[in-house]
């Protein structure tokens, strides 16, 4: 419980130095929570299944972006575009998740580093496909997607067609009442969708499959002897994680409105993992509470640190680097503490 408290203190102290109005901070946090929560949530199942922090949700984010490129190619926007992209991303995510799961099963005990390297590797393949094959191997209809040379997808893809399509799915602004006008400013539907995912996750953990995952996560041997198919359960866990990450990335990008083709997915794993850990989760234990608290604290820090840096040290860049440090540092610290724990709980000679 100490980790979130420390970060809470940093956040509170830091927010004094930003001088930002409370209202602005609240609005900013609402937006950031709505677009990041599902990505963080996608990490829960692998932790519960004993795979540790799944840095390979990057592949899920890629699946989401592939779907977004497809709908942009066919210039399908609005709600239809959004639904279609969610739908299209799913089979990609399932396949990616399956591959990741299989590979992680071959690297038992080294899952985290493997999932991380896998993310980097997949990023290379992703670039290969979209830089070299788009426009040559895969025909692209929408020429505005292509680089001037006609080969490769552009660095930034405009997602204006689906911008806010989930956030503002319910047209509150059409209702001419102050309350609804006020409400229309906020991503209500995204929160509802996130809530739905939270509820489904809660339900899922109470199913047979969820129970199997907990069993596998706690003790692989016992699970296997009781007849649970350990490897398959682990793969399913990664698949679900990857699918959620794909959806999470689509929801993230519909809020941003533009996609950095070769950059948007790169830091997804890092930020999601850091958020979860800031919330007090460990490599072995995580729940929706840590996801929620952690996402809030981490992104709060993200918002305030440049300004706090500016006001404290007269240099905004210090704040920028500080928040990068927080992301890496909190993961490093969590991993060190986790490894440390394993060393404890041994009997000593005086017990005999």
């Amino acid at each position: 419980m100490i980790v979130p408290i420390v970060f809470l203190v940093i956040c509170i102290v830091g927010s004094f130095f930003t001088g930002l109005p409370g209202g602005f901070l609240v609005n900013e946090m609402i937006v950031r929570l709505s677009r990041n929560l599902i990505l963080v949530l996608s990490l829960l199942l692998p932790v519960i299944t004993g795979l540790g922090l799944n840095f390979a949700i990057t592949l899920g984010a890629m699946a989401g972006q592939i779907a977004l490129i497809i709908i942009t190619n066919f210039t399908i926007g609005g709600t239809n575009g959004l639904l279609l992209s969610l739908l299209l991303s799913t089979p990609f995510a399932i396949i990616f998740g399956f591959i990741v799961g299989k590979i992680l099963n071959k690297a038992t005990g080294k899952e985290m580093i493997t999932s991380m390297v896998l993310g980097f590797f997949a990023n290379g393949i992703y670039q290969l496909v979209f830089l070299l094959m788009a426009g040559t191997v895969f025909p692209i209809r929408n020429e505005s997607l292509l680089l001037p040379s006609g080969v490769g997808i552009k660095n930034t893809v405009d997602l204006a067609g689906i911008k806010y399509s989930l956030d503002h799915l319910i047209p509150f602004d059409k209702i001419d009442l102050p309350f609804f006008q006020w409400l229309s400013e906020y991503p209500v539907c995204t929160f509802l969708f996130t809530l739905l995912i939270f509820i489904l996750m809660g339900y899922f953990l109470k199913t047979k499959l969820g129970q199997d995952m907990r069993a596998v996560g706690q003790n692989v041997e016992v699970a296997a002897v009781s007849g649970i198919n350990v490897e398959k359960t682990r793969v399913i866990s990664v698949v679900i994680s990857t699918v959620l990450a794909a959806w999470g990335q689509i929801i993230f990008l519909q809020n941003i409105g533009t996609m950095n083709t070769y950059g948007s997915h790169v830091q997804v794993g890092l930020f999601a993992v850091a958020s979860l850990l800031v919330g007090g989760a460990t490599v072995e234990k995580a729940s929706w509470k840590e996801a929620l608290i952690g996402t809030f604290l981490f992104h709060f820090l993200f918002v305030i640190s440049p300004l706090a840096g500016q006001n404290l040290f007269g240099n905004a860049q210090i704040g920028e680097y500080f928040r990068v440090f927080i992301a890496y540092g909190v993961i490093g610290l969590a991993l060190v503490l986790h490894a440390w724990e394993k060393d404890k709980a041994k009997i000593t000679i005086s017990d005999i």
Binding site: T207, K208, Q211, R214, A215, V222, A223, G227, I349, I352
Partner: protein, 527 residues
Amino acid sequence: MDLLQMKNISKNFAENRVLNDVSFSIKEGEVHGLVGENGAGKSTLMNILFGMPVIQSTGGYEGEIHINGKTFNPTSPDNAMDAGIGMVHQEFMLIPGFTITENIKLNREKTTPTFLSKIFGKRLEKLDLKSMAKDAKAALKKLDMDIDEYVPVAGLPVGYMQFIEIAREIDKTQLKLLILDEPTAVLTESEATRFLEVIKKLSNLGIAILFISHRLDEIKKITDSITIIRDGEVVKTINTDDIEINEIAGLMVGREIELSQKEKDERKIEDEDILDIKNLKVNMPGELVKGLNLTVKKGEILGIGGLAGQGKIGIANGIMGLYEASGTIIKQGKKLLLNNPKEALHSSIAFLSEDRRGVGLLLDHSIEFNIAFSSLEVQGKFLKKIGSLKLIDSKAVRKHALKMIEDLDIRCTGPKQNTRHLSGGNQQKVCIARALTLEPDLLLVSEPTRGIDIGAKNLVLDTLISLNKEFGVTIIITSSELGELRQISDRIAIIYDGKVAGILPPNASDVDFGLLMAGEDIEKVVD
């Protein structure tokens, strides 16, 4: 008709035949005892019956199993469970973070279908915790256990865990046969008494019990009939009433030792003690030594025997400083610094570990390097000086390795071959060569023939004898195989519960050995 019939079961692990033509049968409601030394083949037999993956992955088994007259060919634990076989393993198969209910119903959870499960399949059905708890409660009740079924297992007393395991098995409605592997080993006396009552009760319910134990008095008290196996073969199956404990003990250990009893006269065992161990405690998990006293005479071969888990393995590991130890060890008048492997090696003690591949060898290094390294590290041999640098002298290493390969007849493609792919016997010879290179005056040998085929076994033992005879090396040999201890030792200490239960001459009767190993008093045994 017999509930379970195992017919002519045989099993090989690579070159090793661990089960040979084993047959026995169990009737409904019968409590059947299965006894034998470590390595007699009990666990393998149970693994076959329970369909453990290790059997399939090592080439399956020969012979037939019948359940209620029908052929049964288990390929996974699931098969065994479906056939009504339950097993309580020696190590607890419980998930500490789960509640008692969750553990009892593990992978047999009660579920209720929901909207989502209709789309995505059965595994998404919701757990019915209430009805699971009801089942758990009922199972616990059969064992007269009164405990809150929502409590997590972590932190419960060990005795409770055992009962929870049994509750899990009897919760399986079709349970016909329950295998208990050393169930009372971890229980206190009162828990054990209660446990045995429960066994009787279960057998009255018509459940057959296969009871594996080293505690012969328990076996005698509770079983209806007994099968004794030794060296992978059935020695005898008999009604419990027709046999005495002494006789069981004898059959369990006895074997016709071709007492090729080495020409004892040639060897001189001096009166001088080479090692004097007082109140030794060793914190080796699973093999705790709990205040052991032992003296070793210079020039003798001392055997250390006893059942697995009683601490015999911990002794040598403690002397060598590989596991935390306390107490006093005096080697030739000098106190040995404990918990310091270097000190032990400098005191001219060498060690062949029971974990040959884990501790005894560098699997991905060459034979020659393996042989030379200890001496290089500890005694600074095989080094040449260039200025202030001390570099490895490859030529000397090669020359020495070639000699050792010839002397010990190590079968390999050459001194550069890595040790990983050598056979067990040849790996052991590399270890012996390494120890010899140290020229020790006291050699500790643990389980020297484990996993080695019979031909190579004798070679290894002969090498040890000749070491003792020709170079006067005192040897302490620890082994689970009493036969080999009796073959080469001058005295044999039997370890029970981390202490010496008694020291016997190699030609003492089988009964005496059997009883000492089962934890009977030395006075009682000698009577």
